[in-house]
C-alpha cells in the first residue's frame, strides 16, 4: 500500500468506529436530533472532506457531473434530510470502494512491473584495464562487455569468449535454460546463469531486444479496444443523463402532485432522487474494463506472448482464420535428413556413410545435414579424388569404392537406374561402384509443437491455412502431416498478400484473419492481415516492428494460447459490462419507485464495483489446460 492508500485506510477505520459508536449510543441514549446530527458530522468530515473539496472545486471550474459531485450531493442531501447514518455510510463505503479499486489497480501495475524487471541497469565495460559499470545507453556498437553469472545481458551481441547457459524465461516464458558458446548471438534481457562471458555488442541499447520489448509492453495499453472506447463515450453521456434524471425525480412528481392538488411529499422524492444518484455512479464500468484488458495483456506477456494493444487482444478473440507461413513458422527452417531409403542390398547407415564421406569436403547446408545425420566422426584419410560435378553433385573414392552422390540428373548421366524416386524436399541419390545404392531425403523439419498448435486451433473452430513458396509436393506433405485445412503452395511474397486479401474479402465480417509468419520476409503480409503474429522475436527486429502480436519463442502452439487468453479477457469484459449495467438499471428503477433504499444503493455502487474489479483481476491468471 502506498502512503496515500494507508491514509485513506486509517480514515476509513476511524470513521467506521465513530459511526458505529454514535449509532450504538443513539440507540440507548435519547438525544435531540441536532446533537445527533452534529455527532455524525464528525465521521462524515473525517471520511469525506477530500471528496467535498473536490466537488466544490469542480463546481467552481464548471466541471459538474463527476463522481465526487455525485457523492457530495447524495450525502449532503441525505444529511440535510436527517438521514445521518445513510449519509455517512454512503461516503464511507464509497471510500472503501475507491481504496479497494486503487489497491487492485496497484497490484496489476506491480504484476506488469515485474515483467519490466528485465530492464538492465548497467553494462560491465573494460576501461583502462578495470571493469567499470556504465549506463547501457552509453555503450557503443562493437564494445566488448562482460556479463557475469547472475547478471542480465544488457545489450544484444555476439559471444566472443566463454560458455554459459542463459535463462530466457523473462522473455519467452520458457524455463529450460539455453546453452551458449563462443560465436553465438545473444539477446539482451536474458539472465546469464553459469559462467562469465565476454560479448561484443552488435546494437545500441535503444535498438536492443530488451528496449524494444519494454517499449512495446509500456505502449500496449495505449491502443484502446472498442470496449474501452465504448465505455469512455458511454460515461460521458451517462453521468449527465442520470444527474438530470435525478433532478427530475426530485422535482417533477411533487410539482405534479401540487398541481393536481395532493400532498407533494418533497422529502420522499428527494430521498429517492439521492438514492438514484448513489446507484448511478459509473466507476464499476469505467475501471473494470481497462483493468481486464491490462490483466489479459499481462497474462499473455508472462507466457512469452507480447500483444501490442488491447484492440489486438479484442481482435484475437474473434479470429476465424489463422494463416501460416510454412518455413520458419510451422517448420524449423533448417534442413535435416528426413528419410533414408537404401536399395540393392545396402543398409541405411551404410548409405548415409557413403553420402557423408562423398560430401565431406563441402560446407553446403545439405552436406552439413548429411554429416549431422551420419553422426560419427569422418576419417578424411578414407576419402580421395573428390570431384565436384557442377549442377549434378560429387564423385569420390571412399574406401576404394567409387561413389557418386547427387541429383537425378547425375544418376542419369552415369547411367544408373534409380528405383525409388522421391520428389519432396531435396533428394540426394547415391551410386556405389556404378550400382544404385538408394536415396536420402533432406527437408525442413516440422516443429515439435506444430501439430499440437493446429489441433488446438481446430478445437477452437478456427480454420487453418498454410501459404508457402515451397513446391507443391513438399507443402502437401507437411500439410498432411500436421492436418492443416487449406494449402496454397508455390507462392511469391506478393501472392501471399493477395491470398490473405482474398480471405479477408470472403470471410464472415465478424471474423478476423490472423497471419503468423517469421517476420523477416513476411512484413507486408503481417501488416495486411487483421492480426499479424510474428514468430521468433528473438533476433528479428522486423518482427517486433511489423507485427501486432509477437511470440517470443517461435512456438506456434502459443497462438491458440493467446486466443484462449483473449477470449477469456473479452468474456470477463462482457460479464462486467452486462452485470454492472443490469444491476444498476434494476436498482435505478427500484430506487425511482422507492423500493430500493440507500443501503441497496450503496451495494449497487460499491458492491458492484468490488465484484467487477475482482472479476477483472481474473484476467491475469490462466488456468492450465488439461
Amino acid at each position: 500500500m502506498t502512503a496515500k492508500q494507508k491514509k485513506v485506510l486509517y480514515r476509513i477505520i476511524i470513521s467506521a468506529i465513530l459511526l458505529a459508536a454514535i449509532w450504538i449510543v443513539s440507540e440507548f441514549v435519547d438525544m435531540p436530533w441536532w446533537l445527533e446530527g452534529i455527532l455524525y458530522l464528525v465521521p462524515y468530515f473525517v471520511i469525506g472532506y477530500d471528496i467535498l473539496k473536490k466537488a466544490v472545486k469542480g463546481i467552481l471550474k464548471g466541471q459538474v457531473f463527476d463522481e465526487n459531485f455525485l457523492m457530495a450531493v447524495a450525502t449532503v442531501g441525505a444529511i440535510g434530510l436527517k438521514d445521518f447514518r445513510e449519509g455517512v455510510a454512503v461516503m464511507l463505503f464509497y471510500q472503501v470502494g475507491e481504496l479497494f479499486q486503487s489497491c487492485a489497480v496497484g497490484k496489476s501495475r506491480k504484476n506488469i512491473a515485474a515483467l519490466m524487471d528485465i530492464r538492465p541497469d548497467y553494462a560491465n565495460v573494460m576501461v583502462d584495464g578495470n571493469l567499470e559499470k556504465v549506463d547501457p545507453d552509453d555503450v557503443e556498437i562493437g564494445t566488448e562487455i562482460i556479463v557475469n553469472p547472475g547478471e542480465k545481458v544488457p545489450i544484444d551481441g555476439v559471444v566472443i569468449e566463454g560458455n554459459s547457459t542463459l535463462n530466457t524465461s523473462a522473455l519467452t516464458g520458457e524455463s529450460v535454460p539455453r546453452e551458449i558458446a563462443c560465436g553465438d548471438e545473444i539477446i539482451s534481457g536474458c539472465i546469464n546463469l553459469t559462467g562469465a562471458i565476454k560479448v561484443r555488442t552488435t546494437k545500441e541499447f535503444g535498438e536492443s531486444t530488451v528496449s524494444k520489448i519494454l517499449d512495446m509492453v509500456e505502449n500496449s495499453s495505449m491502443k484502446k479496444s472498442r470496449s474501452e472506447n465504448f465505455i469512455t463515450r458511454f460515461a460521458k453521456y451517462y453521468t449527465p443523463i442520470v444527474c438530470y434524471s435525478a433532478l427530475a425525480l426530485a422535482i417533477l412528481p411533487p410539482l405534479v402532485s401540487l398541481i393536481i392538488g395532493i400532498s407533494p411529499e418533497w422529502q420522499k422524492w428527494i430521498i429517492r432522487a439521492l438514492t438514484f444518484l448513489v446507484i448511478s455512479c459509473p466507476c464499476a464500468l469505467v475501471i473494470s474494463i481497462p483493468l481486464s484488458f491490462f490483466g489479459g495483456i499481462g497474462c499473455a506477456s508472462t507466457n512469452g506472448i507480447l500483444v501490442k494493444g488491447s484492440n489486438y487482444l479484442e481482435a484475437l478473440a474473434s479470429t476465424g482464420y489463422v494463416v501460416f507461413d510454412k518455413t520458419g513458422t510451422l517448420t524449423k527452417g533448417v534442413f535435416e535428413v528426413n528419410g533414408v531409403f537404401a536399395e540393392n542390398g545396402f543398409g541405411n547407415h551404410e548409405l548415409l556413410e557413403y553420402a557423408a564421406y562423398a560430401e565431406n569436403a563441402s560446407s553446403h547446408p545439405i552436406s552439413l545435414s548429411l554429416k549431422k545425420a551420419y553422426g560419427a566422426k569422418i576419417d578424411s584419410d578414407k576419402v580421395s579424388e573428390i570431384t565436384e560435378i557442377a549442377g549434378h553433385g560429387v564423385s569420390a573414392m571412399v574406401d576404394r569404392h567409387k561413389v557418386y552422390a547427387g541429383n537425378l540428373k547425375l544418376m542419369n548421366k552415369i547411367g544408373v537406374e534409380v528405383i525409388n524416386e522421391h520428389n519432396d524436399g531435396t533428394v540426394v541419390y547415391v551410386a556405389v561402384d556404378d550400382k544404385y545404392a538408394g536415396c536420402i531425403v533432406i527437408s525442413d523439419v516440422i516443429k515439435p509443437t506444430t501439430k499440437q498448435a493446429i489441433e488446438g486451433l481446430k478445437s477452437q473452430n478456427i480454420k487453418t491455412v498454410m501459404l508457402t513458396g515451397d513446391s507443391k509436393a513438399a507443402a502437401d506433405r507437411v500439410a498432411a502431416e500436421i492436418g492443416i485445412d487449406i494449402v496454397k503452395s508455390e507462392l511469391l511474397p506478393a501472392d501471399k498478400v493477395a491470398e490473405v486479401e482474398k480471405l479477408i474479402a470472403n470471410k464472415n465480417p465478424k471474423e478476423r484473419v490472423a497471419f503468423a509468419g517469421d517476420g523477416i520476409n513476411d512484413a507486408p503480409v503481417l501488416s495486411r492481415a487483421d492480426i499479424g503474429i510474428a514468430m521468433g522475436a528473438l533476433g528479428s527486429d522486423a518482427a517486433i516492428e511489423a507485427a501486432d502480436v509477437v511470440l517470443m519463442d517461435d512456438d506456434p502452439a502459443k497462438i491458440s494460447l493467446a486466443m484462449r487468453i483473449a477470449i477469456k479477457t473479452l468474456r470477463i469484459v462482457k460479464e462486467n459490462i452486462v452485470f454492472a449495467l443490469a444491476v444498476k438499471l434494476v436498482c435505478l428503477v427500484l430506487g425511482a419507485l422507492g423500493i430500493a433504499n440507500m443501503w441497496v444503493a450503496i451495494f449497487a455502487d460499491v458492491g458492484v464495483m468490488v465484484i467487477a474489479v475482482v472479476n477483472a483481476t481474473r484476467a491475469l491468471r490462466l488456468k492450465k489446460q488439461k
Partner: protein, 72 residues
Amino acid sequence: MKKTYGVEVDCANCAAKMEEAVKATAGVKDATLSFMTLKLKVEFEDGADVDAVMKEAYKNCKKVEDDCEIFL
C-alpha cells in the same frame, strides 16, 4: 513528433477526461493516456512549440481534474 510523459491520477474516469483535455489543446494532434501504466503519449502538430503546448495542456487538465499531475 511524439512524446511520452508520466502522469499521476487516481481514477480511470478522470484519466479519460484528462485525455480529452489534452486532445483539445491547440497544437496537439492526438493524445492517449493509459490509466494502467500512468503514461501520457502526445503527438504534436508539425512545428508546435512542445513546451508551450504542454503547459497549456497541463492547465486544461487541471481545469477538468484538479487532483492530477503531469511530469513535464
